[in-house]
């Protein structure tokens, strides 16, 4: 990669446990629409087939290999699979009352460390998360400070710290719910809206073989 870290980390372990659970529940169709809701059609298809699934709900334009067929009423299998990670691009120490981002709609309530993060609404972060949603870096949670821009947002870490290059977790299983509520969109809608600049990376976590 020649550029910024913008990564959707996908847990093969979580996907497999979800697949096992829906297989046990008797469901027989996996919902692969919208590029498996941004997770990547091919990988989710392959994992599903390895659990014996042969029927899939697909979007127009998605073609299935021989031995697989389309069916309605697929079950989504994406709970907790995806973590969206960005990178701290700049860090500033700002006095209380500093105004941040377009329109100056946000003010720091105390002396604060703020981190500029290289993800924006072009990457799929809903602009409705501005000044309300949270993200974390180094285990420390912060609030999105002011308006989310096309390519970046500012994270108010209060009395916390950050260093350029630190990873920022924007969505994990819990935070995706929070962002989704603020954006008035389902989490599946959120994931399907991940932009083309976000690199998808599957983590195998040393569990069952691929």
């Amino acid at each position: 990669m020649a550029g910024l870290l913008r990564e959707a980390r996908l847990s093969a372990f979580r996907l497999r446990s979800n697949l096992r659970a829906i297989a046990d529940s008797g469901a027989s169709v996996v919902d692969l629409r919208a590029d498996a809701y941004g997770h990547g059609f091919r990988r989710v298809l392959d994992e599903s087939r390895s659990f014996g699934f042969t029927k899939f709900q697909v979007s127009p334009g998605q073609t299935l290999p021989p031995g697989a067929m389309t069916a309605p009423d697929g079950v989504p299998v994406y709970e907790g699979v995806l973590t969206l990670v960005g990178e701290v691009v700049a860090v500033k120490a700002l006095p209380a009352g500093s105004r941040i981002s377009y329109g100056y709609t946000y003010r720091t309530v105390a002396d604060s460390t703020v981190a500029l993060v290289g993800l924006g609404y072009a990457d799929g972060l809903p602009r409705l998360g501005s000044s309300r949603a949270t993200a974390s870096t180094g285990g420390r949670s912060g609030t999105v400070a002011g308006r989310i821009a096309m390519d970046q947002f500012v994270l108010d870490l209060g009395d916390g710290e950050a260093t350029v290059g630190d990873e920022v977790v924007v969505w994990d299983a819990d935070r995706a719910q929070e962002w989704s509520a603020l954006a008035r969109r389902s989490t599946l809608d959120l994931f399907a809206g991940l932009g083309h600049r976000v690199h998808r990376r599957w983590l195998d976590e040393g569990q069952a073989s691929t």
């Binding site: 990669m1 020649a2 550029g3 910024l4 870290l5 629409r33 919208a34 590029d35 979007s59 127009p60 334009g61 990178e87 691009v89 700049a90 500033k92 700002l94 500093s98 105004r99 941040i100 981002s101 377009y102 329109g103 100056y104 703020v114 500029l116 290289g118 609404y121 072009a122 799929g124 809903p126 602009r127 409705l128 821009a149 096309m150 390519d151 970046q152 500012v154 350029v164 290059g165 954006a183 008035r184 969109r185 389902s186 599946l188 809608d189 399907a192 809206g193 932009g195 083309h196 600049r197």
Partner: protein, 344 residues
């Protein structure tokens, strides 16, 4: 037929010409970041350069490299960098770099560029995103001048971003930029290119045009203001999102577009489409399909989600209003799976 985004190249050409004329004698840099706001960077970049833009703003190095690979030789400006950003590749491709900190300068020099890389030093004039604070600025300028002496960089530009908060705030930011330039000049810097304004100040704040205006959203035909439309500014919306009716039931029709195409679910319950020569309320938005309130439609009829507004169809600006957003987000979120159809 599934959803398609029709990209009107002539409208884009028109907008760039209009904006370049407004900016003149200042130069025009056209922002084609984020895949040209979802319109297609490789397709639109040459047209921008033919229509009055003399350089392109790409955000980051990978986008600049993609343009170079496509044969674009014009100046390219990239300013958002990470720890793994490939400054060596940027230097080889002749990409001009925005620099906000001494550590970025050091990383550029450490990449052993082989020839001086043009840098634009960024001062934070209030937005508190990137850029050196007034306290950090002298050290950044001094470090850049030292790197210039060693042949690693050419100190070419000085720049900032406006917050577009109010006339007074933007005037204060402009004053802060001038002040930073005076500080830098006292340290021995001479800038060839000073820039601050994007679409909104480029249009409404002549004193902020300086050497160059970085136009983005306005070039795509969408207003940067909330009190006037792109149409009223003499701009033409470049993207029209269309689909067709896939089935009809009593009083409703299903259409082939959904949130999987990037349609903004947050626009409900106010969102409308244009179908059968009238506005139709959108009742629900699904993954691949949505349902509109409609009578007398047939399977295969065309439905416009947003466009220029010329025929009465909604605009991206209206969608932005419905979704409590801005037009930029409406167009840039249109998904990759939506085919872009270029018309001239």
């Amino acid at each position: 037929m599934t959803a398609r985004a029709i990209i009107d190249l002539d409208a884009f050409r028109h907008n760039v010409r209009v904006l370049a004329a407004i900016a003149a004698p200042s130069a025009t840099m056209l922002a084609v970041k984020a895949n040209a706001y979802g319109h297609g960077m490789l397709e639109l970049a040459p047209i921008a350069l033919e229509s009055g833009a003399s350089s392109l703003a790409v955000l980051d190095i990978p986008a600049a490299l993609a343009l170079r690979e496509a044969g674009v030789t014009a100046p390219l400006f990239a300013w958002l960098h990470g720890l793994k950003s490939d400054f060596g590749a940027a230097a080889r491709a002749g990409v001009e770099l925005g620099v906000s900190s001494v550590h970025e300068l050091e990383a550029i020099e450490a990449a052993r560029p082989g020839h001086p890389v043009r840098v634009h030093l960024k001062i934070d004039t209030g937005l508190h995103r990137n850029g050196a604070s007034p306290e950090e600025w002298p050290a950044l300028v001094t470090a850049a001048l030292a790197a210039e002496k060693r042949g690693a960089v050419t100190v070419f530009g000085a720049w900032s971003h406006l917050a577009d908060a109010s006339e007074e705030e933007d005037a204060a930011a402009l004053a802060a930029l001038h002040e930073a330039i005076a500080v830098a000049e006292a340290l021995g810097a001479r800038f060839s290119m000073v820039h601050l304004a994007a679409s909104s100040a480029g249009i409404r704040m002549p004193e902020a045009r300086l050497d160059l205006v970085r136009f983005g959203i306005a070039a795509y035909g969408i207003s940067p203001f909330d009190d006037i439309t792109g149409r009223e500014l003499g701009l033409i919306a470049v993207m029209t999102l269309v689909t067709t009716v896939t089935s009809v039931e009593a009083g409703a029709a299903t259409i082939g577009v959904g949130f999987g195409d990037g349609l903004a679910g947050g626009a409900l319950p106010r969102a409308e489409a244009w179908a059968g020569g009238a506005r139709a309320r959108i009742l629900s938005i699904g993954v691949d399909e949505s349902v509109i309130e409609a009578h007398n439609l047939s399977v295969g009829d065309e439905v416009v989600l947003f466009g220029t507004g010329d025929a009465g169809e909604p605009t991206a600006e209206e969608w932005a209003n419905w979704a409590d957003s801005i037009g930029d987000e409406i167009v840039v979120r249109i998904a990759q799976r939506v085919e872009r159809v270029y018309t001239d």
